[in-house]
């Protein structure tokens, strides 16, 4: 059993779990989650093994762990598929394994395993509580177990397979396969509660929006294949000649080089998958799915896949780079990333739903990563990707815990309020302490609280790179976005946990069970400590204590040695300032919101606030531009005209013409000729018979006369023939 075999085995356990659950244990909830979590543990363990092994290999970037098998025969050779572990996939594998495992464990508690079945619970609807009576006969409403419990674990298992498969693959084709599997699972899991109309709409929106991106990505992959004849990372991305060739050949499209155009097309796929502007509209709606889904798919793994892909094809993006100036494609990526970062951050400050804030936060942070890639800060992007996965998953799981706590309060008090609306919360720090502390840690990490959170180090890295390479616009915009990030994070924490409870439900919220809080604690540890693996060497005071592991390890993925940026105080100060400043402002504005109060920002910003709350009306715009026309075409063109008039018309015409021809043949051929002939034969036989039977009179003497005549005739004949004729 060598390390390559282990790499092959990593995606397998969740896939097997998927099949086992749907085929065998669908009705047995405990068996299903045991299978799923065991699979996650096995994959986690194998991933850790591989990571530990990979981290000890010298210069992993130059000789990664590779293994291929022949798959499809093509022409004169075989199409090989295989696995590759280089530093980028190793670190991705690390965070994917941890977050997947934590979320699997969390899901057991989230879906209320061990609770009774609900009173009116139906498959496809979220559970609404079961009435139990205690010893004295008092009835309480308690959380009830999710009816489709096993299906959930089956699909997150399939999803985990897709993500692992994407991460370990060594070529763009199998990456695409993993990509699409995750897209499908995302569709299914967003619409997990399919009986809700909003969930159904959201699932279709997610799938179709990412599909738009996927079309361009496939075009890019096809273009790459046609230009180079291969899709292997080793053959393209590690091959300076190929890169040089692709980077300098013009593609004929708006002055992009071939590599630039390919990179752009593939990047558009990432735009869809990672919900960047303009394909960002699906992610907030995807919050219709259960919170573990939001955490895993829409925070830690699937949306990270877009960043992973862009990091993977970074050599293509940078091909043809001259003297450190970013290429055209990189500029576009930087623009989209930066724009999305600020765009989503502005929307996030006006949202009421706890999960919506986090959704826009994810979009914004991914924008940070793309901005980093766009300005060439590869390692900073990798660093932020890994950190973000941990603290965003932590935040989402924390929000799920909050929602559960609020629902408990709702059941307890019978108060019919939205448990996800932050303005109904407040004071939960006293009711849900573990959730509070871990959420606080995650929130501070997101805001980039100095020194003790992972988010600080990774964001600082991006700022340093932007500043150090003189990308002023990017630097300033990202700094603003970071300010807003800290602001809305503190707004979220203050509204949810601090202050006093604004509703009865919040007063009676309770802490979640260990299967939910344990993952929170584990992820919180990472959110604090993991950042220390990437402290720059020349950072004052803390610089040389731990070597800059991230820089050394992740940096090896690239062909060229990238030098870390020289330390400069300005980005550091900016980063500390926006972080603490944003946190401070958020706290000040929201610390004394009373129940029933209006958002103070609304008074301050007026119409701007309404625009932000309505997400700049992009949904309405897309509805007008794309969705309604599509429906119109489907209804009027495809259905009414094509299907009913043209296709059905043709069929009806064929039918009626056949009828006419048939009737004609029947009346002019079948009846007169064929029937006539048959009848004529019968009739003439009868007539002949009638004629002939007149001979039979029954009178002997006539028979005898006949005999006599015959004899005479024959005699004459014979006489003539034999005697005269001789």
């Amino acid at each position: 059993m060598n390390i390559e075999t282990i790499v092959w085995l990593i995606p397998l356990p969740p896939l097997i779990a998927f099949f086992l659950i749907i085929l065998i244990t669908n009705r047995r909830k405990r068996a299903s989650h045991i299978i799923a979590i065991s699979a996650a543990v096995i994959s986690w363990f194998l991933s850790m093994l591989v990571y530990w092994f990979a981290s000890r290999v010298d210069h992993l970037g130059e000789h990664p762990i590779v293994s291929s098998i022949p798959w499809i025969p093509t022409g004169d050779g075989w199409l090989f598929i295989g696995v590759q572990i280089d530093p980028l996939s190793a670190v991705t594998l690390f965070f994917v394994a941890w977050t997947v495992l934590m979320i699997f464990i969390y899901s057991v508690g989230y879906h209320n395993f061990g609770q009774p079945k609900g009173d009116q619970d139906r498959p496809g609807l979220p559970p609404h509580g079961a009435t139990v009576s205690d010893v004295q006969g008092h009835k309480h409403l308690v959380p009830s177990i999710e009816p489709l419990y096993s299906r959930f674990f089956a699909f997150i298992g399939l999803f985990a397979f897709g993500m692992y498969f994407l991460v370990v693959s060594n070529n763009l084709l199998t990456l695409f396969i993993g990509w699409e599997i995750m897209g499908f699972c995302s569709y299914i899991l967003i619409g997990f509660w399919y009986a809700k109309l909003t969930a159904r709409a959201a699932m279709i929106k997610a799938f179709l929006t990412t599909r738009v991106g996927d079309v361009f990505m496939l075009l890019g992959i096809a273009y790459l294949y046609s230009e180079t004849g291969t899709l292997y990372y080793r053959d393209i991305l590690y091959n300076p000649e190929v890169l040089q060739e692709l980077g300098t050949t013009p593609s004929g499209f708006l002055g992009f080089s071939v590599a630039g155009l390919i990179g752009l097309l593939i990047f558009i796929g990432a735009v869809g998958k990672s919900a960047q502007w303009p394909l960002h509209v699906w992610l907030p709606d995807a919050m219709e799915g259960p919170t573990p889904v939001s955490a895993m798919i829409h925070a830690a793994t699937m949306v990270s896949a877009g960043v992973y892909l862009t990091l993977r094809i970074f050599p293509l993006l940078a091909a043809g780079m001259e003297h450190g100036h970013p290429t055209q494609t990189m500029n576009i990526i930087a623009f989209i990333g930066t724009f999305t970062a600020i765009f989503a951050a502005t929307i996030a400050i006006a949202q009421k739903d706890i999960k919506r804030v986090l959704a826009y936060s994810t979009i914004s942070q991914l924008g940070f990563m793309f901005a980093a890639i766009g300005i060439g800060a590869y390692i900073a992007a990798v660093f932020h990707l890994v950190m973000h996965a941990f603290f965003k998953a932590l935040l989402f799981l924390g929000s799920g815990s909050v929602i559960h706590g609020m629902e408990h309060g709702v059941y307890h008090t019978g108060d019919h309020i939205d448990p996800q609306d932050m303005f109904n919360m407040g004071g939960l720090r006293k009711r849900m302490p573990v959730t509070f502390i871990t959420f606080l840690i995650g929130g501070l990490a997101l805001a980039g609280f100095p020194l003790v959170t992972a988010g600080f180090w990774s964001k600082d890295e991006i700022f340093a790179d932007a500043f150090g390479h003189n990308h002023w616009l990017v630097f300033i915009t990202l700094a603003l976005a970071a300010l807003l990030t800290a602001y809305y994070t503190m707004r979220q924490i203050t509204l949810t946990f601090l202050g006093e409870s604004r509703t009865d439900a919040a007063k009676h919220a309770s802490e979640s069970i260990w299967t939910m809080t344990l993952p929170l604690i584990m992820l919180a540890v990472f959110a604090v400590a993991l950042g220390w693996a990437g402290i720059p060497e020349d950072f004052p005071l803390f610089g040389n204590i731990i070597p800059n592991y991230v820089h050394e390890f992740a940096g090896e993925t690239l062909l060229e040695e990238s030098k870390p940026v020289n330390f400069n105080f300005i980005p550091l100060v900016t980063s500390i300032f926006v972080s603490l400043g944003g946190l401070g402002i958020g706290w000040l504005v929201y610390r004394s919101i009373k129940s029933g109060a209006v958002d103070p920002a609304k008074k301050a910003l007026g119409t701007i606030f309404v625009v932000l709350e309505n997400k700049y009306y992009f949904d309405e715009l897309y509805d007008f531009l794309f969705v309604k026309p599509a429906y119109w075409v489907a209804e009027n063109f495809s259905y009414k005209w094509m299907d009913r008039k043209v296709i059905d018309g043709a069929i009806h015409w064929v039918a009626s013409t056949s009828l006419v021809i048939g009737t004609f043949l029947r009346n002019f051929f079948d009846v007169p000729v064929v029937n006539g002939f048959g009848d004529w034969v019968g009739e003439s036989t009868k007539k002949l018979g009638t004629v002939f039977r007149s001979i039979q009179t029954g009178r002997i003497q006539q028979y005898m006369i006949l005999a006599l005549v015959t004899v005479a005739v024959f005699t004459a004949l014979l006489y003539y023939l034999l005697i005269i004729g001789r």
């Binding site: 039979q696 009178r699 002997i700 005898m704």
Partner: protein, 110 residues
């Protein structure tokens, strides 16, 4: 060579013509009489005519050969038997049909 043929015998053709005439008369009777018994009489006449033919040929060719006479006697016997059977049939028919007119017994008519 049988017994001598006497020079002064009448030519054989007289017998043959006579027999032919008798035959024709008998045939005519069979074909035209309605009464079944008269038809039988016609048949008898035809048989007798045949007999005359046979005897004439016997006498004029080899009168010593007994087979000619035997033949004629056979014919007589058959004629007699046939009349007996015929009359029996007529009686049966009469009892059934009430008539023995050849015109009216036409069961074989279509």
């Amino acid at each position: 060579m049988g017994a001598e043929v006497r020079k002064t015998m009448i030519p054989i053709s007289w017998f043959l013509i006579f027999a032919a005439a008798l035959f024709s008369i008998g045939l005519f009777g069979v074909l035209s009489r309605k009464n079944a018994i008269l038809i039988l009489m016609g048949i008898e006449l035809m048989l007798n005519a045949v007999n005359i033919n046979l005897i004439a040929f016997w006498r004029y060719r080899d009168s010593l050969d007994i087979s000619g006479q035997a033949f004629a006697v056979m014919v007589f016997a058959v004629a007699a038997a046939e009349v007996a059977v015929g009359l029996a049939i007529f009686i049966s028919v009469y009892r059934r049909r009430g008539t023995i007119s050849a015109d009216e017994i036409d069961l074989l008519k279509w």
